[in-house]
């Protein structure tokens, strides 16, 4: 496993933890709970802090891990080369199309919610402030998870 792969795996796990934390703070089953602004702000700040600290730990850990797995020569090897950059670009493209797809689903959801209040076709309330904050935060981290998952797959094929 290269340093880039270890970093992608670590980042994938951390973003998953953050996404789980966000849903714990906002969801009750499939329903977004109305929460006060302070609760939303603390969730946002904690999520960002977990992500930043996690990335620092993963970056440091990846360097140590690669040296342990691949020997001392790995420490001197070029960290990122053209294949890493190609994989990064392709993973970003996949993440972009994921975002496009999800935003389209959300637009349809909002239209259905506006047209048929309480309809089973529009089960998730995303019109309230809590709903909007949850959706945007979840989407942000979900896109990151998709990008990291794509990188992990692309490194293996």
């Amino acid at each position: 496993m290269s340093r880039s792969e270890i970093r992608a795996l670590g980042s994938f796990i951390i973003a998953g933890i953050v996404l789980w934390f966000i849903q714990m703070r906002f969801l009750d089953g499939w329903q977004v709970v109305d929460v006060p602004a302070g609760h939303m702000l603390s969730t946002y700040v904690i999520a960002i802090i977990i992500m930043i600290l996690g990335e620092i730990v993963v970056t440091t850990g990846a360097a140590i891990g690669e040296t342990m797995l691949n020997g001392a020569a790995a420490a001197n090897a070029d960290f990122e080369d053209e294949r890493d950059q190609m994989i990064e670009r392709r993973a970003e493209l996949i993440s972009h199309w994921f975002l496009v797809a999800v935003v389209n689903v959300l637009v349809l959801q909002l239209i259905l919610q506006g047209a048929f209040t309480g309809s089973p076709f529009a089960p998730l309330d995303i019109i309230s402030t809590s709903g909007v904050v949850f959706t945007l935060l979840a989407l942000l981290f979900a896109a990151h998870i998709v990008k990291m998952a794509a990188k992990l797959v692309l490194y293996r094929v």
């Binding site: 880039s4 691949n70 020569a73 790995a74 090897a77 070029d78 080369d81 053209e82 294949r83």
Partner: protein, 70 residues
């Protein structure tokens, strides 16, 4: 148009007369060991620049290392 395949003799050259490890070749051409593995297994076709660097590392002409299968 059908996609062709870039073939190479990197493993034969590296393990044969040059006796290099993948890490040594990676360091010589400025790539990661994983990239050298992917190129050797023909899972990844290198850029023209990296391909020339690899040929230079072996001290042989480009066409002795790489070939194209349409």
């Amino acid at each position: 148009m059908a996609k062709g395949k870039v073939r190479n003799r990197i493993k034969a050259l590296r393990t044969g007369e040059h006796g290099m490890t993948q890490s040594q070749l990676a360091e010589a051409v400025g790539a990661t060991r994983q990239t050298i593995i992917a190129i050797e297994q023909e899972k990844y076709a290198p850029s023209l620049e990296l391909a020339f660097r690899i040929a230079n590392a072996f001290g042989v002409p480009f066409e002795q290392v790489f070939s194209f299968e349409p």
